[in-house]
Amino acid sequence: MGKLTFSMGGVHPNDSKYARECAIEELPLPQTVYVSMAQHLGAPAKPLVAPGDKVLVGQVIAEPGGFISAFVHSPVSGTVKAVAPRKDLAGNPVMHVEIAVEGDEWDPAIDRSKELVTAIPDDKAAILDKIKACGVVGLGGATFPTHVKLSPPPGKVAECLILNGTECEPYLTSDHRIMIERPKEIVIGAAIMQKVLGCPCVIGIEENKPEAIASMRAAVAELGYPNMEVKVLKKRYPQGGEKQLIDAVMHRQVKSGGLPIDVGAVVQNVATSLAVYEAVQKNKPLITNVLTVTGNKIPGNLQHNYLFRIGVPLSFVVEQAGGVPDTAAKLISGGPMMGKAISNLDATTVKGSSSVLYLSDEDTRRKPETNCIRCGKCADACPMGLEPFLLNRLYKAGDLDALEANAAQDCIECGCCLYSCPACIPLLDHIRQAKGQVMGVIRARAAAAKAAAEAAKAAAEAKK
């Protein structure tokens, strides 16, 4: 059988996975950690601690601030110093809990042994409760609360759990390393999620990670859970995009504005699966994750994969990793295609932190914009089948109706258009703006429709 891939668009950047051989090291503890209250998609968490409180590793320090939100736990033991706003990596103020580290005392409820727990619990509700209580969120980038994703709305049935091991972003190697070093835990995590959803599981890994494929295949065979299979995908960005992965594995497309569950798919990252394993089998909340420190043309001793406590400042990570190389012109949190530029190294790591990436001026400086030559490379590259050149023009013209008709709101912001544009036109910058405006129009329309319906209902009630 041929290798799977998604059906439209995509680009083939050099995968640059220089840190692929670097085994995961445990990052030492800093003196102070800053735990963000907004490190998941949805409403920020509400702090439950006050300055002066003593906390243990794994203790709850914040509760969900809404339905789509998550618990936050202390990654260290020590004393809460402050609960105050602090700048995130883009420089926006976000509520943080500042904890001075004292020793390393863990909540006794957490099983810290290395022993593998292979028996899957039977009670689905208890599993979901544990995942929720441990603050597990999707670690593939969107940080969507995992328990919400594992609870399909009434009437929707999961037909396939797709475990995302594609790691299609260049440079990143953290998923690659956990698939090599902790494959069994990932597989058990997947089996737990399978139990909740009651559906088969496909583990999708791109062909450029043969060691990870072999390691995961061996773990699946050894553990012998039913209906679980590793499938090899072509190397192609953005294969790990949720919609693209569903297309690649199930040959189904999620309708515009729809959810993966509409086509029977649930996608979870391999790192999330590991977090689910730790939460359900070991009672360990999501307080650690793996990130890659890497860059182009930097010495080997500056390349690392770290197991870090969530809340360690980026500056500490960088310092431990040997400092910022002189050639670095841009620091990025995440991959080179979808990551965010770091404007503030004092910002803290969050649940979804996957890397600190150094790019040189030559790699990253944008070239001056020239005329569009209508080559259509942006449309060829768009994995959503959009026409970025057209959306760019419509954005400049301010034509919101036409932007909506041409599906600007479907943009997944993967960056393929700008990556492949020979004229270096800031297509994605403009389309992102356009998407925001169109989404605003759509939301306003929905709100107006809802208000009108309610008013009509109220009027009908009054008549009675």
Partner: protein, 328 residues
């Protein structure tokens, strides 16, 4: 952070492709055909190419600098491509001042007034050529081959095969009579179509086009549709009456069909963005070119066909879009 770092939105890396790199690929792709034509037509051909390219580049540089007061765009090499394509559409014996006029029309009428690269509605090189064709018909179609570096097997002097044939049919002779009278051997057209530089070797043009396909600069749909349509129409009409209507080989290998289909119809700027639009555009070019060849008063229809279909591109772009993810 003491040092200043760049902060900008994603993506943070870029494919190693630029307008200049694309134009450089097109220039490389034109080289085989250029070499063949220089070998066949000698110094005169080289001079035509040099004058055409230099005129295009200098005119673009001068106009952007002094009239448009913009940064010069000659660095993107698009003027060089226009110059090469124009030269390849001209006979080698043409007076050089006519070459300059062609370059002037291409750059200063068809390209820059619309806003320069990417903005023009009509293919500049073809606009230049058509202007010369209607203004200087004698110099453009009736000519002596200039002495080349290597002998051409059956060089035709006088008119190009297409115009000679048109005259022959007008005066009442049939195609087979014309072929034998002129010693035409159809197979030899593959390398010698006894016409302007770009028309001389279909083989060399094809090699260049394959290079563009490999480099993913162009997609094959437009040329396939242009040449396929021309072939189909030739088969039908030649089948009906081989005395009056020329056959497939003749039509595909003469009169700039190859140069037009492979290098002019595939111009990014003046062809549709979507694949379906491109297919319709290609079929349209093939159809119009054959209608002109069979029923029009001009011997050769490629240039007019491309220009006419250029007009339809905005409409084709409006009507045809590519398939979107998750939408019917």
């Amino acid at each position: 952070m003491d040092k200043k770092y760049i902060v900008s939105p994603n993506p943070h890396i870029h494919a190693s492709v630029s307008t200049t790199s694309i134009m450089r690929d097109v220039i490389i792709a034109l080289c085989p055909a250029l070499i063949v034509s220089v070998l066949a037509y000698g110094w005169a051909e080289l001079l035509v190419v040099a004058v055409s390219v230099l005129s295009c580049v200098l005119l673009e540089w001068a106009v952007t600098k002094w009239m448009m007061k913009r940064p010069s765009t000659v660095g993107d090499l698009s003027a060089v491509v226009t110059g090469l394509l124009l030269a390849m559409n001209l006979p080698s014996a043409i007076p050089l001042w006519i070459v300059f006029i062609g370059a002037f029309v291409a750059i200063c009428v068809a390209k820059l007034p619309f806003g320069g690269i990417g903005q023009n509605v009509f293919n500049p090189a073809i606009t230049g050529r058509v202007f010369l064709l209607v203004s200087f018909p004698a110099q453009m179609t009736n000519w002596q081959p200039t002495p080349g570096f290597i002998p051409i097997p059956d060089a035709v002097s006088g008119a190009t095969p297409l115009s000679a044939l048109k005259e022959a049919i007008k005066s009442g002779s049939t195609i087979p009579e014309f072929m034998s009278a002129n010693n035409y051997d159809l197979a030899s057209f593959l390398w010698d179509a006894g016409a302007s530089a770009g028309e001389i070797s279909a083989g060399a043009l094809l090699i260049g086009f394959v290079y563009l396909l490999i480099r993913r600069v162009v997609k094959p749909w437009i040329p396939i549709c242009v040449l396929g349509t021309m072939a189909l129409i030739s088969v039908i009409f030649h089948g009906i009456n081989p005395d009056v209507y020329t056959g497939v080989q003749f039509n595909l290998l003469t009169g700039g069909a190859m140069l037009g289909a492979l290098f002019m119809a595939t111009d990014y700027v003046t062809s549709p963005m979507s694949t379906l639009g491109g297919i319709i555009y290609g079929i349209g070019i093939g159809l119009i070119a054959m209608m002109i060849r069979y029923f029009g008063s001009y011997p050769e229809g490629m240039s007019f066909a491309i220009l006419l279909m250029n007009c339809t591109v905005p409409l084709l772009n409006m009507w045809f879009h590519q398939k979107k993810y998750g939408r019917a």
